[in-house]
Symmetry: C2
Subunit: 266 residues, 2 copies
């Protein structure tokens, strides 16, 4: 299957993995988890997938949660295959094949409840979870998510209801099904929180995409674990603004963001 001569994809995958490991090491004490953007590995083919597994392992070794940002969503039989890929793995006649072992996966809900159920079940059985896209950070998010429904809700609000139905609330008071709610639309956060009182919010969009930590109060109403602020470019590229050693700059930026986020917790 493989071309054994390590070509450009192999070299590029090693070059992608190295800074991942550096940043994971640098920020491990400031962060609770690492969100791996699967597309950036996937474009390097098979070596990219090997690097993705290695980056996840590096995060686990530092006791960080692994969030696979893959935004998968498909009919049930295919969703079950994605669950094997990102969570517990696949039984084969040749022996078990490991999955990515993610603690959480981002999921696209356009195909409805039965497309998410196999992913939710697989996650639940392993103490993992899902983050379902409810309100994304991009300028075009409104094209579909902000459409007004006949009953007066927005599509995002209806998605929030689906998330609340799908989740199982544990002793912590938090559901095992969370939601992606971008920091770029803080005015939506309060109404979405009302419809998902127990969901953890995974919150991208702080920093490079323009969102401010200080506007994210409602995310934390269930407590400190109610919000997970996901900052990627802001931390990885911190040295471009702060100067100095990239790892030290990443650590300082993560520390500063952590302090600002904790100040929001009621």
């Amino acid at each position: 299957l493989f071309n054994n001569a390590p070509g450009p994809a192999y070299a590029a995958a090693e070059a992608v993995l190295a800074p991942c490991e550096l940043v994971i090491e640098a920020v491990a004490e400031q962060c609770v988890g690492v969100k791996l953007q699967v597309a950036c590995f996937e474009r390097l083919g098979a070596p990219g997938w090997a690097a993705l597994h290695r980056a996840a392992r590096a995060a686990r070794e530092r006791e960080l949660l692994v969030i696979a940002d893959a935004k998968r969503g498909d009919i049930a039989v295919t969703a079950a295959a994605y669950a094997q890929a990102f969570f517990g793995g696949t039984s084969t006649p040749f022996g078990p094949v490991e999955g990515l072992g993610a603690d959480a996966l981002t999921v696209n809900p356009l195909l409805g409840e039965d497309s998410m159920a196999p992913l939710a079940e697989a996650a639940r059985g392993l103490g993992s979870g899902l983050f379902v896209l409810v309100r994304t950070t991009n300028p075009g998010a409104g094209d579909v998510q902000e459409l007004e429904l006949a009953d007066g809700l927005s599509v995002s609000e209806r998605l929030a209801e689906l998330v609340a139905q799908l989740g199982v609330v544990g002793d912590s008071g938090l559901s095992d099904i969370g939601a992606v709610v971008g920091a770029t639309a803080p005015e939506r956060m309060e109404t979405l929180r009302e419809r998902m009182p127990h969901a953890s919010f995974l919150i991208p969009g702080v920093g490079a995409q323009g969102g401010a930590v200080e506007a994210l109060g409602p995310a934390f109403s269930p407590g400190p674990a109610g919000g997970l602020i996901a900052v990627s470019r802001g931390i990885v590229s911190a040295y471009e603004r702060r100067g100095g050693d990239p790892a030290a700059a990443a650590r300082s930026e993560a520390e500063s963001l952590r302090r600002r986020a904790w100040s929001l917790v009621p």
Copy 2:
């Protein structure tokens, strides 16, 4: 990056590739393309991605179109990375890394127009295209796609309008942006066709999922290339119903479906 000892994932990926190549060879003269379900490869990690590339190559060698059924959708910067993965590849300091070289990719439109634009541009530059999810085949499709909007349209109908806006119509009269419209909701096909007069419809759901070829007339109103009927389990597992050699059964089933589909073309 790789464990060089070929383990279960490697053996399983080879075992998955073998029947793919067999079926591609068997049906090549009855079909115009092959829809590869990316999840089934992805769950085998790096060897699975190598097998996916090999299956695509086998299809190209038989002059079949390669449709990557990956249902990707993300913010623009990430969509650009998915475009590299599935279409033309990635430039790296170590040399170019090949993409899958797909002729088309299935795309999830929940993140709106700017999430699809980088994929559309990459596809267009290579003479490839997209199939955007508009109405899927699964029982839960209605949870989101059939919601009624304040203006009386369904979400699917609004998605159809986005598809029509995004596409560029060529000399053939067909747009380079098509739509996934499942055969399990034939009553929707006519209204969706009205909103997407130039789109090719990729039509899953015939056979194993209960849809009938004979109900798909409106898909073909722009001509024979207006509809691509995607049958996977129905062809691959044809020997379970027809008996005999699996490859011969797959070919017979594909031939029968082809004849019935052509009878619908105006």
